[in-house]
Symmetry: C4
Subunit: 266 residues, 4 copies
């Protein structure tokens, strides 16, 4: 075991055999959109953990748990079986953190794509992130997309996903996983909710979930996101009363996500 | 030899054969609690060095010694034989520093757990740290714990260790060693003294030592800690006389410990 | 594929067989001179991509493309066949970024030199950069050179390249590739346009292109560079109207190029 | 060749066979004392280069040379044959830089010790550094020492080297090489000139050279150091005329030496 912890390792539960799965990746990043979406889907779809990824490129942290125990930071794969017989299962990848160095990012994300393609026999990957256009207030967050190919873009014609209008770079897992998928001949989409200046942007997360649910034919409740959205809206109204507050609003975010928060999305 | 220095290496003294030992890990970190506790126990228990760990992930430093000599920074294992025949020996791990990168932390701490489990045949690990709740003054430091399992938590029922009230992340050896122990099937506890804003918090160290001594049935004198506590108290009284001093107090701390001082504990 | 992404890799198109080529390297750096020159030559010479270099030492970024797709950051080799039969072909190396760590720089740049010498059978390398003498305004940018040997310097006698007047260090690809070329017995020249305080200095790029075209007997149009130069000149005139503006001018530069912008050139 | 550049490599000139040599290491660091001493001895003793060390852990820099050429940053071994037949030769190690990461420092310095012990069959190593006690003006710089053993300290009884009064850590080559020498069973001394607040402290360098020359029975002229000392003294007198100048004086130093200037010495 111990030596394994010194390398990026995926521990798989026995008997996990998803049926032609799609993968949805949501990790800490801009607006925490990816993580919010993934955790929400995981709960709503009652997905069960099938694999855990550990890496020495993650921050050197253990998490204190509510039950008084402790666990290493990780990324985790959850399986939601399709309600239709023979339908595509959904794998959700989420976790506490991303790798902290470029080399670590390349290693961890290439392992994720390889594991999904070779072991889980999957062929389509969504990565979820936030996209920040610098607007101080985003009333109706738009949904942007960057895909592995024109063929994939065509498949999203009848959706609200906007292609070709996002510019710049996608840092971290949201970008690398789609780029690696493309290089490996998989299809994939980086789907991004438009975020405002908040560290946790439930509104952008809801926009992405709405788009994804329609596309995938899922019924997903969003009440708890609505609560978060209302809390944020209240906060904004209070701030608007106080004139001249210059500093950007920051509410709590995931451990480790700040230190490599980039300019655009992750 | 030389090549060995380029990798994490544990040099073991011949003939070291501890009897079903427990391990107490105390390294530089928040409030320097871990290091204070480990050094205090080492002296009180007259423990003798049995092994030394070197790593290229430690800071590139040599220490100037009082006798005019020099030595490489290291972590060191000390053995205190149990006074009872057949009783569990105590191994104390302390040192000058911790690894400076995440990859180094994963490597060094996984080696420590592996060495303790496989070579020393031990099965229970304490890591000692400080826990900062942000209080400017801590009169009666509490003792918090995070354990490898519910079974271990139950074993501390009759102690003053508080479980399930600490939140966030444990950085460095104090966290990783317990997380790795759990993954390897060992039992362990991260025991944390509540610290104030001081870089060296003898009061928190004394609280942990008191808890540990009772649990382990050790008789430990704490006079030198009491002296340190009194010195700090004097300093606090002086500062309270001077109104409006805003900067946090900082007294000397271990070499290398500052650069990766995290938000919670280590 | 996936494992390959975890190491520096050059993917070569089949059938690429340049004839005794010379290499011109222009990557993001001071004044963006290298990248401007390389991209300009690539378009003017209608060079075609023959190989792509990926590296985990590059920033962990994917680029959002105008067509809604995405691709991994890379360096790319382009081939321009010589118009003369049997003449030396030109290989242009440009890309989105440079490696972010010293170790990565050594690895990527040694691979580039090795690939050019062994696989492409080339023997002369130009690296292009900017050289900043701290002048606030550079009306007529000079062209400085540092070469692999006195023999190479002699070969540039009848040009405007100034040798022996540049001092200090050359960071990154522009420096390492020439140093490695020298160690491997190849000939080469680091050719540097004198830059002002602008992040994108088309004027310095034009000076280098003019020198290179003459030396290589190429006919290169520079209208689009002239437009950029005029835009910058306009900006300078506006700034000169406003008195006392202290901050250095900064216009948009390549992704990733800022974080390791050094004091002299790259 | 190229692959070799991706690892720490020592290139040795053929036929270099020093006679039971001692090694004097002087690299960029505090007060630039090590480098000043080594370069001075190299010139005075007319030492000739016998080996060059390259490392990907050095900064990714090439140096622009006065003759218009370029070379990779390196450390270099120079040999000064003993004037006495059968006497110990002197090897001087100096260079442009030190490794930039802890891992790189461990690797490079362990290679240096190994090369000296195994290939050059040497047995005594001096490392030279500066020691800063925080004094604003140092009229008569003292010479401090930290040695591999008490036996070595005894050997310096009749010199002005002060043992056991220096405290703290020695960063970089000056410390690691002596610590590694000790671990390998070699004898060695880190000899430190007391520095003031100057980046280049010729006065401290002269103090070390004087001590070393006496001990090694060398005749070394120090006129050029005297000139540097006089220049600095003049600067100090000018500064003393101007009241209230608070900032520390900084004159030019070696490329790359600033970024890891530590608190004590190197």
């Amino acid at each position: 075991m111990t030596m394994a912890i010194e390398r990026t390792t995926i521990k798989v539960k026995k008997g996990a055999r998803p049926n032609s799965p799609i993968l949805i990746v949501g990790l800490p990043g801009i607006g925490n959109v990816g993580k919010l979406v993934a955790e929400h889907l995981r709960k709503e779809l009652k997905a069960e953990r099938i694999a855990t990824l550990y890496s020495p490129h993650f921050p050197h942290q253990a998490l204190m748990l509510k039950n008084g125990s402790v666990r290493l930071v990780s990324n985790r794969f959850y399986l939601a079986k399709s309600p239709k017989k023979g339908g595509s299962d959904i794998i959700i990848l989420t976790g506490d953190t991303q790798a902290v160095s470029p080399e670590g990012q390349y290693e961890v994300n290439s392992r994720i794509v390889e594991f999904f393609a070779k072991r889980l026999k999957g062929s389509f990957i969504y990565t979820v992130g936030g996209y920040n256009l610098g607007e101080p207030i985003v009333k109706e967050p738009r949904v942007f997309g960057n895909a592995t190919s024109g063929k994939v873009i065509k498949g999203f014609k009848s959706t609200n996903v906007i292609f070709g209008k996002s510019r710049g770079v996608i840092w971290g897992s949201a970008g690398l996983i789609i780029a690696f998928a493309k290089m490996k001949g998989l299809d994939g989409l980086c789907i991004m909710g438009e975020v405002g200046p908040f560290d946790i942007d439930a509104s952008a997360a809801k926009a992405v979930i709405t788009t994804l649910s329609k596309k995938l034919g899922l019924e997903i409740h969003t009440q708890n996101l609505d609560k978060m959205i209302e809390q944020t809206a209240k906060l904004v109204r209070e701030l608007e009363k106080q004139a001249g507050m210059p500093a950007p609003l920051e509410s709590g975010t995931e451990a480790g996500s700040k230190e490599h928060r980039p300019s655009y999305i992750r």
